[in-house]
């Protein structure tokens, strides 16, 4: 059983000192290939994100529907001009004329209600 196990005859050497695998050539190959790939992927991602950001910033403004401009309610100034007062007075007089309870601009249609052929 023991004969089959492969072990180092030099038992004074620690495993750290003795390389387990000799892949020095492969390691150096990987080390050389990784930066190129990363650079490429990073570059694409970066440019893509930047492109999307720019398109959103520029294109978004064009697509957006016009926002209704809300004009603030004018705050009455402490002192109005004579002309403004005249205008307000005219409006008030007009409103009062419109509200005249004696006027009846829309009377019920003055038409026959009982229409028939027989007596």
């Amino acid at each position: 059983m023991i004969d089959n196990i492969d072990f180092s005859e030099n038992q004074t050497l620690f495993s750290e000192e003795e390389p387990l695998f000799n892949h020095s050539q492969e390691k150096s190959r990987v080390k050389k290939a990784r930066p190129k790939k990363l650079l490429l992927i990073g570059g694409i991602v970066g440019i893509f994100v930047l492109l999307v950001a720019m398109l959103t910033a520029i294109g978004g403004k064009k697509i957006r529907p016009p926002v209704a401009v809300v004009t603030p309610t004018p705050i009455p100034t402490p002192a109005r001009t004579s002309t403004q007062i005249d205008e307000l007075m005219r409006e008030a007089i007009q409103d009062i004329e419109d509200a005249d309870p004696a006027s009846n601009a829309l009377p019920f249609p003055p038409i026959a209600q009982d229409i028939k052929i027989s007596k």
Partner: protein, 274 residues
């Protein structure tokens, strides 16, 4: 190599940051609600239609009276046919008048200010339902071929006619009260404007105190307007749909004192601003 990685990461971060800031600056715009301009043009058109129909109705009414009398005197099949035809045309025209009149009322109510929505909306619905009843009556009148069918349809329409009259006077009452409310509200606005205008003037103490007494009189008159107007208004608003010609005439009389006082307030304001 490391430097390139850092640069690209920073670039990506910057891109994401720009996107985020852009989204914050330009939030999704809420849909723009179109504001409906008061459709006064439509009202003018309807009024034009209405008066034109009234003219047609007057002509047709004469034809109907002549044909009916002829039929009742002669009692022939030919005269009966003519009477049926003229009556049918008259009923159709009358229905058209009511349809346009209901449109006018609805439009006036819709444009009318100073009317609470809880009164305005149900009344508009009632007017629309009435319009549908009139339309059905018109269709039935048009398809009635003999005098029995026509007389029956005319009789069937009588309750709708009463309903129509009642809603008409209630709508007119609402419009009247609304106009009074608008005029009343405007008086407060004008009073404040005149007050601030007078305060900005350089006046002697005698003139100033005279104007102050004037404003005090205006306050008292406005209180009287409120005392006269508010109960009448509440009576109309709290009894929806209940109205007739007599109620409408009564309303006009009841509003007269408040109306007179409002005119007085305007006169006072005109005096004070001089």
């Amino acid at each position: 190599m490391k430097r390139a990685q850092i640069f690209l990461t920073a670039l990506a971060f910057l891109g994401a940051l720009v996107t985020f800031v852009s989204a914050q600056e330009n939030p999704v715009a809420s849909p723009v609600i179109p504001t409906t301009a008061p459709n006064t043009q439509n009202l003018f058109n309807l009024q034009g239609q209405y008066f034109s129909l009234i003219d047609q109705y007057r002509d047709q009414e004469q034809k109907y009276i002549v044909a009916k009398n002829q039929y009742l005197q002669l009692n022939t099949l030919a005269s009966q046919e003519l009477a049926v035809k003229e009556t049918r045309t008259l009923l159709t025209l009358r229905a058209d008048i009511f349809l346009v009149y209901l449109d006018i009322l609805n439009e006036e109510l819709s444009l009318g200010k100073g009317i609470p929505l809880e009164n305005k909306n149900p009344e508009q619905i009632a007017l629309t339902l009435l319009k549908e009843k009139v339309r059905i009556h018109k269709t039935k009148s048009e398809s009635a071929l003999d005098r029995f069918a026509l007389d029956q349809e005319a009789a069937n329409f009588l309750p709708t006619l009463k309903e129509l009259e009642s809603h008409t006077y209630y709508t007119l009452s609402l419009i009247k009260v609304g106009k009074m409310q608008v005029a009343y509200d405007k008086l407060f606005f004008v009073r404040d404007a005149v007050k601030s205008y007078v305060e900005g003037q350089t006046l002697s103490s005698a003139v100033r105190s005279e104007k102050e007494r004037g404003f005090a009189e205006i306050e008292r008159t406005l209180d009287n307007v409120s005392a006269n107007f508010t109960p009448v208004k509440n009576d109309v608003l709290n009894n929806p749909g209940v109205s007739g010609l007599s109620d409408y005439s009564k309303l006009s009389k009841e509003l007269t004192p408040a109306y007179g006082q409002m005119n007085q307030v305007v006169q006072f304001l005109e005096e004070i601003r001089k």
